[in-house]
């Protein structure tokens, strides 16, 4: 077994022991660290259900060799909500707009929408479609997801 390495996830240093170095960040998050919010679907970057932020950059965690993320700041969907106090503005908007059906794509969408709204407080429909073009949802038809993004953007802009 290789030497353990450390990942910083949602502000916490996590030791990854007894791992195979070929493991993706997605696998390590779910199977080694128990952070199952990040979903495992295609493992080839097609669906973005495993999206996380690495040093603030939206990334498919299935395409990251976990050991190479040592020293970087990984933020998963678990790190975006306000802890036990409640959901993020984006998560609330997804609930309010009914943008969730089976829910499998939802964590990746939540991360991607956080990333979008950080960069662009007032995205056009085109901006939103572009930003989410890699997030596959097979249930909703996307209409309610787009509505949720607009609702989240408005809510975020009206925050003090």
């Amino acid at each position: 077994m290789p030497d353990p390495y450390s990942l910083r996830v949602n502000g916490v240093d996590c030791e990854v022991a007894d791992s195979d170095l070929a493991e993706s960040l997605l696998f390590v998050l779910r199977e080694r660290l128990g952070l199952t919010g990040t979903k495992n679907a295609c493992t080839e970057g097609e669906c973005s259900s495993c999206a996380v932020l690495i040093d603030g950059v939206l990334t498919c965690s299935c395409l990251v060799l976990a050991a190479t993320a040592a020293g970087q700041e990984v933020t998963t969907v678990e790190g975006l909500s306000n802890g036990r106090d409640g959901l993020s503005v984006v998560q609330e908007a997804f609930v309010d707009e009914g943008a969730v059906q089976c829910g499998f794509c939802t964590p990746g969408l939540i991360v991607a929408v956080h990333d979008l709204l950080e960069a662009n407080a007032d995205p056009s429909d085109g901006d939103v479609r572009e930003a989410l073009s890699g997030n596959l949802c097979r249930c909703t038809g996307y209409g309610r997801i787009l509505a949720a993004v607009n609702t989240a953007a408005e809510a975020k802009r009206s925050q003090p």
Binding site: T59, L63, S133
Partner: protein
């Protein structure tokens, strides 16, 4: 996998490759990790180069643009790099999705050397030199000498792709691509076309329609003589259509799971005609 080195400098990357010349270089992971996740590849030594600052640099001069191997598609799409190499930005814009473009790099596109690599026709049309470093020092070569077959390069053991140096001609640049949707698409056919008003030349290269990245040199020379370079650089519809047919003759497509040879050949002709018209409209001439 027994060893993963995350290089923090070009020296570290070169040192790691010198220690294990057969090591696999990992950049954005958008190709290699797919194969590792599927169990198709299990490299014993991996050198991660995504955090090598020297590879992430780019620079713009009057007559050329230099892009480091670690520059991501997202960075290629962003000004000022996007303004200096517009076709490169257009090609980058068609790759995958935002998270894929945040990770994937120019060097990775070169290293994978797929005929469908979207930046490769742009590099060919911009006369790019690919610069690699290795145990024997630096080598510079044209794309033709770098990509030597389907997913095959002339990289030697221990060598690393450092940067691509491309022309910055006065004139419009176009990259066009055919696929089933606007995002997450691997090219069924791709084409880059560059107008060079100083040299009075047109350069056109093709993706996903041959084993390599062919330049349509016969068609380029043919059309350059039929453009009215002195008076607004317009182009006749008949010339544009004939150019399309002549460019298609430079392709040698195959039937595969993404498309058919016949469709690809047809698509190349359409793309070439369209790109030429866009590059040589009145507005295009005014930009030059």
């Amino acid at each position: 996998m027994s060893d993963v080195v995350v290089a923090r400098s070009l020296d570290e990357a070169q040192g790691a490759l010198a220690d294990h010349p057969g090591a696999t270089v990992l950049a954005g992971g958008t190709d290699l990790m797919v194969e590792i996740n599927r169990g198709l590849r299990r490299p014993s030594h991996v050198v991660g180069v995504a955090q090598v600052p020297e590879l992430r640099q780019w620079s713009i001069a009057d007559d050329r643009v230099i892009v480091g191997g670690g520059v991501t598609y997202t960075e290629m799409m962003t000004t000022p790099l996007a303004d200096a190499a517009p076709a490169l930005a257009q090609a980058a814009r068609t790759v995958g999705s935002p998270p894929i473009r945040n990770a994937g790099t120019l060097g990775g596109n070169l290293g994978t050397a797929s005929p469908a690599g979207d930046t490769l026709p742009v590099l060919a049309a911009l006369n790019a030199k690919i610069v690699v470093v290795g145990p024997d020092g630096e080598r510079r070569m044209a794309l033709d000498d770098f990509v030597v077959g389907v997913k095959r390069t002339s990289l030697r053991p221990g060598e690393l792709i450092v940067r691509a140096e491309m022309d910055r001609p006065a004139g419009r640049q176009e990259f066009l691509k055919i696929g089933p949707r606007n995002a997450m698409v691997i090219s069924m056919a791709g084409l880059a076309l560059v107008a060079d008003h100083d040299a009075r030349a047109v350069r056109c290269a093709l993706g996903a329609v041959a084993a390599g990245i062919p330049r349509a040199r016969v068609a380029e020379a043919w059309v350059a003589e039929r453009i009215d370079w002195d008076n607004g650089a317009g182009v006749d519809d008949e010339v544009a259509a004939e150019f399309g047919q002549r460019v298609a003759a430079a392709s040698s497509p195959i039937d595969d799971h993404r498309s058919t040879a016949a469709y690809r050949r047809h698509a190349v002709a359409v793309l070439a005609t369209r790109a030429l018209k866009r590059a040589f409209t009145e507005e295009g001439a005014a930009d030059a």
